[in-house]
Subunit: 435 residues, 2 copies
């Protein structure tokens, strides 16, 4: 154990400056807890002129994060710039190469280069820690890597993107369309001007890639994840879900199946009585199913400067204490390669909403296509929009909830129903996640 740990922070934006202030504010407590003085001795920023509220004790500033990463002034390099290439990648690689510990919140970098970085850290016997990269202030990395060390994990799933959860919560609460809620989220700063990365499920996929590796001992691979966003979720779906006892959440799910580890991100029906259904707004939550602990759920802030800084500081404190874990729990050489599983083989229940043409025999025709494929129906709901009621020929919403079946059978049935000409628009299919 060293008596002093000199920290350099690259990127002093919202998270970086919060981490800096937290390390200062808690300096004595951290010294008592870790047996080591943790000091931010240097930083790197793009614009030195900007006011960052760092007080009087401004550390030595570098323009070039790679120079900071290599500087003899620091023992530990904190990367909070973001981006999966460029300065972030170059500086993290430089820091590991120089034998310095690395703490990062950069999920995109880990999703793309995590395995190579873990190998580099192992080779130099330094830490590569990334609690802040998934679910902000929730200590999910530590829980998977250490807290559940004795468990064989069956499934890990959760709400990992606050923007999507905010939009879905608000659609439900205020009966607004997806587009209206997205605009509101952008106005409030919960969504980017280009929201594709969040809304399309890609941010969730990066985080899920990290959780999968930790939970299942696989080599991180975001390309093995099936990704769908929430753009297609309509208010009609949210209301039908409500009527049937469900809520719609964008989940990232990694699950052990007989075909391998299935990784997927998509809008999902969760039972209203489940812990995840209760998680509203920008909050994140992760549930783990494992053989010994059975079910464990962690709920907390998924973003925000202070909450994310809390995770960064916890990583730094562990390193100060001398805790060294393999970045993904197992030595990099033991991480197993994963395959992207075909979603056609996915097994589970389904929500299917049809806009059925209002004529005799429509429901019978739909039900027949399901029965042909041995798909059992848990519930069938036909509920006309009161505003359209009475208008002859207006399409009638028909919602089915199936028992567990396969995606291949469901897609086959839906295609056959469309071919039958009994539906007025493209049917909506949303997977159900059982708790």
């Amino acid at each position: 154990m060293v008596d002093q740990l000199r920290v350099g922070i690259a990127g002093l934006g919202v998270v970086g400056s919060a981490a800096f202030r937290l390390l200062e504010r808690q300096a004595d407590a951290l010294a008592a807890r870790t047996g080591c003085r943790i000091e931010v001795t240097a930083g790197a920023v793009r614009d030195r002129g900007k006011e960052r509220g760092l007080g009087h004790t401004s550390p030595k500033m570098f323009d070039d994060p790679v120079a900071l990463a290599r500087a003899p002034d620091i023992d530990l390099f904190v990367e909070l710039m973001g981006g999966d290439e460029g300065a972030a990648r170059a500086s993290v690689e430089a820091a590991l190469e120089a034998g310095k510990h690395v703490v990062t919140a950069n999920k995109a970098l880990l999703a793309k280069h995590g395995l190579a970085l873990a190998k580099a850290a192992e080779q130099k016997r330094v830490a590569l820690a990334f609690e802040a990269s998934v679910a902000g202030g929730i200590p999910i990395v530590k829980t998977l890597r250490e807290g559940l060390a004795g468990n064989s994990i069956e499934r890990v799933y959760g709400i990992l993107n606050g923007t999507c959860n905010y939009i879905l919560s608000r659609m439900e609460r205020e009966e607004l369309s997806f587009e209206e809620c997205l605009k509101e989220a952008q106005r409030l700063g919960y969504a980017e001007a280009d929201p594709t990365f969040d809304i399309g499920g890609f941010d969730t996929a990066h985080k899920l890639a990290i959780l999968t590796s930790l939970a299942f001992g696989t080599s991180i691979d975001a390309d093995a994840i099936h990704v769908e966003g929430i753009e297609g979720v309509t208010l009609a779906d949210i209301k039908a879900a409500e009527d049937l006892g469900f809520r719609i959440k964008l989940l990232g799910v990694a699950q052990r199946t007989r075909n391998g580890i299935e990784q997927r991100v998509h809008p999902t029906m969760v039972h209203k009585s489940s812990a995840l259904a209760e998680v509203m707004g920008v909050t994140n939550a992760v549930t783990i199913d494992a053989d010994a602990v059975h079910e464990l759920t962690l709920v907390g802030p998924g973003a925000g400067g202070e909450a994310t800084a809390s995770a960064v500081v916890a990583d730094i404190a562990d390193i100060a204490k001398g805790i060294r874990s393999a970045p993904f729990g197992l030595p990099a050489a033991r991480l197993q390669k994963t395959e992207k599983l075909a979603m056609q083989r996915h097994e589970g229940g389904y929500y299917i909403r049809f806009s059925a043409i209002d004529q005799p025999g429509t429901i019978a025709a739909i039900a027949k296509r399901m029965a042909e494929r041995q798909i059992s129906l848990e519930s069938v709901m036909q509920k006309s929009d009161p505003r359209a009621a009475g208008k002859p020929g207006a399409p009638v919403p028909v919602v089915l909830i199936t028992y567990a079946t396969t995606e291949e059978l469901v897609r086959g049935a839906v295609d056959a129903i469309v071919a039958d000409g009994t539906v007025a628009e493209k049917p909506q299919v949303i997977r159900i996640e059982r708790q």
Copy 2:
């Protein structure tokens, strides 16, 4: 780091045998994760003849746990016998004295002797780990000790006793009395023949004592906790809570106040929309309010052989990896002494249920006593039992919800109301915990 960690388990009951099997089942994974073979080389049991499902690889058996604790056959002693004195205390002390790491699930032992044991462990530079002592499989000790290292914690509170939560959940769901639910809990094995320890809040207090020490850096002291059980909670309270948007839970709460650290265990009104309100049955949950992470909630199994064994094995894995934390986060010498705070100084909202005598002016008289003490009322509900309606002179339930005030003022008002002779029986007072 050692290549092999030899474990001795004293107490091979439900948790001990589950831990033994888990260590065997996960032996390869644990070796890969920790860089160390973990082997149960010895055990101690009261009755050697009993079948424990340990398979063919039965370890060397001792009759005397103290002899096991001192045996050169082991590096780490696991205490799963229970009890705050006797064999448990003697063997844990002997193990620490002999320079062996200790893992225990024994909350009663820690609540009583935790400080002395932490000092002994520090002196010998060995680990004293007790994840399994609080909230079963939930990694709350690790979260407080490591995961939130950068936070200043304001409050930690939770549902820490499955028996009480089972009874309260069942009273609500099935509209049964406390006595009926207790009997059912005993029949199902969720409550002991003598249920005082659970029902009276003492088990929760032992667990809270541990959480308080970890969260606030105080020396563990269960005697500083104000303890009330759930015996006095009636179905009338549960129904009134429901009507007012609350649920009743037995909570353990430790909170930083301007008077010091307030520690209390009592039936509590929690808002139905809160994470804790959703926790039903034997499940446990803990919420932490802290300056950086804001609010974090962990939900999981609070008991059960496998879930508790999961926590025991996580502790063993950390020790195998070489992780050494001060047992209560800070060196024992730095833990601050706490005082038992007078509950009269408690500040918060209150639920008060009166059986008011049905005569003109009763509510006015009750309201006057509140107003005299500047107690503001958030809601007032007078709701007659339909079965009693029409019977002249039958008492009328009047329920008040107050805004934040002090216990002294509330007790004073209630005493004055009783002295006024306007109520038919002892009023019920239940504290409200704001989320």
